[in-house]
């Protein structure tokens, strides 16, 4: 756990240990752990509390906690964290954090706050799934992520929705009639 060990580690694509999003009270809104550093939910929550206590007052982007490098960013009432080994290239972790934040910012139309996020949880789940896979950075370009998540307009009202559906089914019908 000391930060003085030589980082002569096996070169590997496994970079990210966890991605967390906490709210104003330090409660978990989203948490994905990619290895066994914190195997139980209890240990994870303790770690999250610790992280939150050490970071929520200062907006200083990076910290070393429990032997892990934590890069973070806060916006209104949300706290985003990306966690990696203390030997990891901090800028790589930062790239992941920025990609996550920018993707969400686009998906939520710059409205990155708790309520908007909670209304679009599926978008968040899919975005993280496109950014990190099993600890490997899958994509770091927010444009690509947003494109791949391909969430249909999130605030499409129900009436409009039904219109689209009607159009869709009409298209479908025409297609079938043509095929016949």
């Amino acid at each position: 756990m000391s930060c003085n060990d030589p980082p002569q580690q096996e070169p590997s694509l496994y970079t990210v240990k966890a991605v967390l999003i906490l709210d104003n009270d330090g409660d978990r809104l989203y948490a994905k752990y990619y290895d066994d550093t914190y195997p139980t939910v209890k240990e994870q929550k303790t770690f999250e509390k610790n992280i939150f206590n050490k970071t929520h007052r200062t907006d200083s982007e990076i910290a070393l906690l429990e032997g892990l490098t934590v890069v973070y960013k806060s916006n209104i009432d949300l706290f985003f964290y990306v966690i990696g080994s203390s030997h990891e290239n901090e800028l790589m972790l930062m790239a992941v954090l920025n990609c996550l934040f920018d993707s969400l910012s686009q998906m939520l139309r710059k409205n990155v706050e708790r309520r908007a996020l909670l209304e679009n949880m599926e978008g968040l789940f899919l975005a993280v799934d496109e950014i990190v896979d099993g600890g490997v950075i899958l994509e770091s370009d927010p444009q690509q992520v947003v494109h791949r998540v391909a969430l249909r307009g999130d605030d499409v009202p129900l009436t409009e929705q039904t219109v689209t559906q009607v159009l869709q089914s009409a298209k479908e019908q025409i297609k079938w009639s043509l095929l016949r």
Binding site: M1, S2, C3, N4, P6, P7, Q8, E10, P11, S12, L13, R28, Y30, K32, V41, K54, T58, S60, E61, I62, A63, L64, L65, E66, G67, V71, D77, S86, N89, E90, L91, M92, L93, M94, A95, E113, R114, R115, L118, E119, M121, E122, F125, L126, D129, E130, D133, G134, V136, I137, L138, E139, S140, Q144, R148, V149, A150, L151, R152, Q161
Partner: protein
């Protein structure tokens, strides 16, 4: 006014979490609508989101309920809603380990993976590989090979990363995809390049020749991806380390050339690799140090942090190489990120002059409580190094360390401080007394057994040689009384050292109770081994305490040249003992009848030390000893009745009056039937 109301409404709205009071059972109940026809994508999507949210919160799903939900979910593959399908993939991944028979979705996923919808293909591959085992992998091998070389980057990346995950499980199968991975490595897409390089390395890492070839190829061809460059730098520096190639090797040149890369991530990776190489000369370090110096003034906190942390490492071995950065580091002392400020100060402590030490220490103590344990350890290490460099500064340091020792902190942090104080004591004889005093204070309230025993050991070693050994005995004694076994043992042996090193002088200062306790515990130990002799040894020792106390007191009043002898204790007390006994082992001394006032206390203590009697509560009264035998027989037996609230204890004291015989296997068989007797 109206606006204000609106705002309030909004605020209370933002406080509510639509997922807050989710009940697992209710959600699973809702999941039944998955079976309805036609499928309502919007509602189903919402329910899947809830399920994943619950899993994400750490909610436990039983195998049966998970399997049930999983099977219901499989029906949703009939819908063509994109987001819903994507959420199905996610559910599969999340439930892969908790649901049974997840492989039933294999064919659906294989279809999506090879289908026309590019949006589905990548995630379908990742979900499929998550539920695939070695035997099934062979069945999809053909598709995987195709996917790796697919022209759509997300498909290729997904296939490469999933292959990497499966290397651990099915190395032999994945190994056959090397050619495809090789082809993917020359892709234009930066992520595909990176993933292909990672997979190739994992497949070849045991074959040094292949790794060398691969490095040669990629370092020459030039990659586009900064991530891939970082990976190459790591592979190259590992190879350099293993082959112990000199720094004239082309690999070193490659790493050095990366210092001029456009991307900061690559530049930093290269600088860090050079800094961490063993046996780097100052000249080889210089270019790396100068790019790190540039990063020190970056507006990005992460970059400043990375730079100063790496410079800190350089300063440990080559302080002179970092001196050029002193000015930049000075600017970071007031950085709003305390981690950066700490690292900057500790680096300066290593590179700066003696005159700046006081100023830096003052600066750091202003915010030491705000930083995390990891950095406190860094601070302590810096202080430790500093004390070696400037021995004259030890009093400033010692003061600082003792303050840190009083603060809260974890084991690693406290250990670092203790180690540091110990090393200062060892190097500066004049700091010994203050150091020991701080450590004594620390063990008064120390939850770490390892540290307490370590300090007690040190006290045992150093204490007796100080001008005033008596100061430390009080602290050690407190440990004997209050702590766990390991600490007590260490405390007793520390005391023994005090005794051994300056016997007569020491005993004069020795709090007599301390020594009695030590002997007492030794006897308790003995008692465990020879349970039969228990009462015998026990009584003998305990009753001699008042005698010992008296004689020691006498001894201290009238110091003589003769070293104090334990064996002389009973002799010294002859005026108050009526029975004349042989006193060869200390344990055989007799109970002096005249010391009745403290007798009850003695009994209380003796009885409390016997585990079987611990539950009996306070001792109410003990009778006078009753002689059961005549005084002149080979052995003398006396009986004492101890009365407790609900119990009666009979104590039988057997004393051997013969020198040449050993009394063994004593049993007591009480024949007085109405009273329950315990021995």
């Amino acid at each position: 006014m109206i606006k204000k109301f609106d705002k309030k409404d909004e605020e209370s709205g933002s406080g509510s979490n639509p997922f807050q009071h989710l009940e697992k059972s209710a959600v699973l109940q809702e999941a039944r609508i998955f079976n309805e026809t036609p499928i309502n994508p919007r509602r189903c999507l919402h329910i899947l989101t809830k399920i994943i949210y619950l899993l994400n919160q750490g909610e436990h799903f039983g195998t049966t309920e998970a399997t049930e939900a999983f099977f219901a979910m499989t029906r949703l593959f009939q819908s063509n809603d994109q987001t819903l399908r994507r959420m199905c993939y996610l559910t599969i991944k999340e439930m892969a380990n908790i649901s049974e028979d997840v492989i039933i979705v294999t064919s659906s996923l294989t279809k999506d993976m090879t289908g026309k919808e590019d949006v589905y293909r990548g995630p379908a591959i990742r979900a499929l590989c998550r539920i695939t085992d070695t035997t099934m992998l062979q069945a999809i091998e053909r598709y995987m090979k195709q996917a790796i070389v697919d022209k759509v980057p997300s498909v290729s990346s997904s296939a490469l990363v999933s292959s990497l995950h499966m290397v651990k499980m099915s190395y032999d199968v994945v190994k056959r995809w090397v050619n495809e991975a090789q082809e993917a490595a020359s892709s234009d897409n930066i992520m595909v390049q990176y993933h292909a390089l990672g997979l190739l390395y994992h497949l070849r890492k045991n074959d040094r020749l292949a790794v060398t070839k691969m490095l040669n190829k990629f370092t020459k061809s030039g990659l586009k991806s900064p991530f891939a460059y970082c990976m190459l730098i790591r592979i190259a520096s590992k190879l350099l380390d293993e082959t112990e190639a000199g720094h004239d090797s082309p690999l070193f040149d490659f790493i050095e050339s990366c210092l001029r890369n456009k991307n900061e991530m690559v530049v930093y990776e290269a600088a860090s690799a050079i800094v961490h190489m063993p046996n780097c000369t100052a000249r080889e370090l210089a270019p790396a140090v100068s790019v790190l110096q540039l990063f020190c003034s970056s507006p990005k906190a992460a970059l400043r942090y990375a730079a100063v942390r790496t410079l800190n490492k350089v300063a440990m071995k080559h302080p002179s190489a970092v001196t050029a950065c002193n000015l930049d580091l000075e600017n970071l002392i007031t950085d709003s990120n305390r981690s950066i400020a700490t690292l900057a100060i500790t680096t300066l402590l290593k590179t700066g002059s003696e005159s700046s030490v006081d100023r830096l220490m003052k600066q750091i103590s202003s915010f030491v409580s705000e930083i995390s344990d990891e950095f406190k350890v860094v601070v302590v290490q810096a202080i430790s190094a500093l004390c070696q460099k400037y021995p004259r500064k030890h009093s400033v340091m010692m003061n600082f360390l003792s303050n840190m020792l009083r603060d809260d902190g974890g084991f690693d942090y406290k250990r670092a401080i203790v180690d540091c104080i110990i090393s200062i004591i060892e190097e500066n004889p004049e700091s010994k007394e203050t150091g020991l005093a701080h450590l004594c204070e620390f063990i008064e309230d120390c939850e770490h057994t390892v540290l307490a025993t370590k300090i007690l050991h040190l006290l045992g070693k150093e204490g007796p040689r100080t001008p005033q050994p008596s100061k430390y005995i009080r602290f050690i004694f407190n440990r004997v009384v209050l702590e766990s076994e390991a600490v007590r043992a260490a405390a007793v042996s520390a005391l023994a050292k005090f005794g051994a090193q300056n016997d007569d002088l020491c005993f004069a200062f020795l709090d007599d109770e301390v020594r009695d306790r030590a002997t007492f515990y030794m006897n308790v130990l003995q008692q465990k081994q020879k349970a039969l002799n228990a009462a015998y040894i026990f009584n003998g020792l305990s009753v001699s305490i008042p005698g010992l106390e008296k004689s020691l007191h006498q001894y201290t009043l009238d110091p003589s040249e003769k070293p104090f002898d334990m064996k002389s204790v009973p002799l010294a007390t002859t005026p108050i003992t009526e029975q004349k006994t042989e006193i060869a082992p200390v344990a055989t001394s007799k109970l002096p009848e005249k010391l009745a006032p403290s007798r009850q206390d003695i009994y209380q203590e003796q009885l409390a030390a016997v585990p079987e009697f611990q539950g009996l509560g306070p001792l109410f009264k003990s009778s006078e000893p009753v002689q059961l035998t005549e005084a002149e027989t080979e052995y003398v037996v006396r009986c004492i009745k101890h009365t407790f609230a609900r119990h009666m204890v009979f104590q039988f004291d057997c004393t051997n009056t013969l020198n040449d015989q050993l009394l063994q296997k004593l049993t007591a068989s009480p024949t007085v039937s109405p009273v329950p007797a315990t021995l």
